[in-house]
């Protein structure tokens, strides 16, 4: 593992205040691996071997039941995942697969639990990380239960515009099928919803979305600090 990557991980809130000794202990047994696109990293129902951290690329978390599948989250660098399962040493509730080629740091679950028992700063950081994740899922649940799919899309566009620097012009980095499932809808519905939002001043052509009238869009989307962050 190269120094730049170690530094990247070291800078994560999760490891910021961990002692040098314990950090080295965690990293010494860690693996940094490259995966091609479309690889299943973990499978719901399995017991956790590693704490995973997306260092590069993107990863989708999903779950299946009765031959249906739903995307629960899409992760960008740098993010830990399946922390809760590692902490409790219980089976994964979600599966994960790479959406793009990706680089994943894997820290043995036992090492995480060991250091967590001995390093108070790490324990505290874990609580904070978990609390943040918890709130993320609650937001997702509210988004799902309190909004229509068109509203979810409108809010996603507003957030993505902010993320891309308020250019009122968004470039899609993931394909629309993936975006659709991220937003909890079918690809067909994403098409229809984008067409629908033309009434609110949205113009779509291929992988580019232009916001012509952000006031109208905001009025329709009704962004909410207790759902969106």
């Amino acid at each position: 593992m190269r120094q730049t990557e170690t530094d990247l991980v070291r800078a994560l809130p999760l490891f910021e205040n961990v002692s040098e000794k314990h950090f080295d202990e965690l990293m010494s047994t860690a693996l940094l691996q490259r995966f091609p696109q479309g690889v299943t990293l973990i499978q719901e129902g399995d017991l956790p071997d590693f704490l995973h951290i997306v260092v590069e690329g993107s990863v989708e978390l999903f779950a299946s039941h009765d031959s249906h599948e739903t995307v629960l989250d899409i992760l960008q660098p740098v993010t830990t995942f399946i922390l809760a399962a590692v902490i409790r040493d219980e089976v994964y509730l979600k599966s994960a697969r790479t959406l793009t080629a990706a680089q994943i740091l894997m820290i043995p679950a036992q090492a995480v639990r060991d250091v967590f028992d001995r390093d108070a700063a790490f324990a505290r950081a874990l609580v904070n990380e978990l609390a943040a994740r918890y709130r993320g899922v609650v937001r997702a649940l509210k988004n799902e239960k309190l909004r229509t799919s068109t509203e979810r899309l409108a809010n996603w566009i507003l957030q993505e515009d902010t993320r891309q620097g308020d250019k009122r012009k968004i470039s899609l980095t993931i394909d629309k099928r993936t975006l659709a499932s991220h937003l909890g809808m079918t690809p067909e519905n994403l098409s229809r919803n984008l067409a629908q939002l033309a009434k609110q001043g949205i113009v779509t052509s291929g992988p580019v979305i232009v916001i012509e009238n952000i006031v109208e869009l905001r009025k329709f989307a009704k962004p909410n600090g207790l759902i969106d962050q």
Copy 2:
């Protein structure tokens, strides 16, 4: 606060291994209060003053947006709530109200954060509690996204039957409106769904649900250890 109640709280996994000194510190500033039914205990958007623990009665967690409301969870004794907001000292994402008359233990948020910084056992217990809660929300999200409302009801009946001692005869302790919103449906739909489940051997009369054919019901419900616990 009476000794029996202190003992009850002391026995919670969250406080089990906390030192006597720190436990006393937490309890000395805590308040144990009785509330009538229908009282709003916390309001989404407010900053947390207390960590709450349901000691008696039941409490519902809900959220509102654009004049719609959805129930996110129903809590029975003995359970902490809004832990994540307290840890991070960030606004509540949910509101809480009593469903019945209830007794609530309230520990000042600052005291929780103070002890958490000094007591490693408490910090560890918090991580475990939070991880468990996190997994609970993930299960709820999967339940919502991967099942129809009739399936959610069927699974709820199976779980409730187990909880009430496998008598194949369930008594409803909460009214049907509340149950409906807990299961993510309208009261009208709960009625229809119960009628629907007659085909699977469910007989409903008033607040009593009888399971005549549990094999059929299971076949329909398709319980799943990665959604239901």
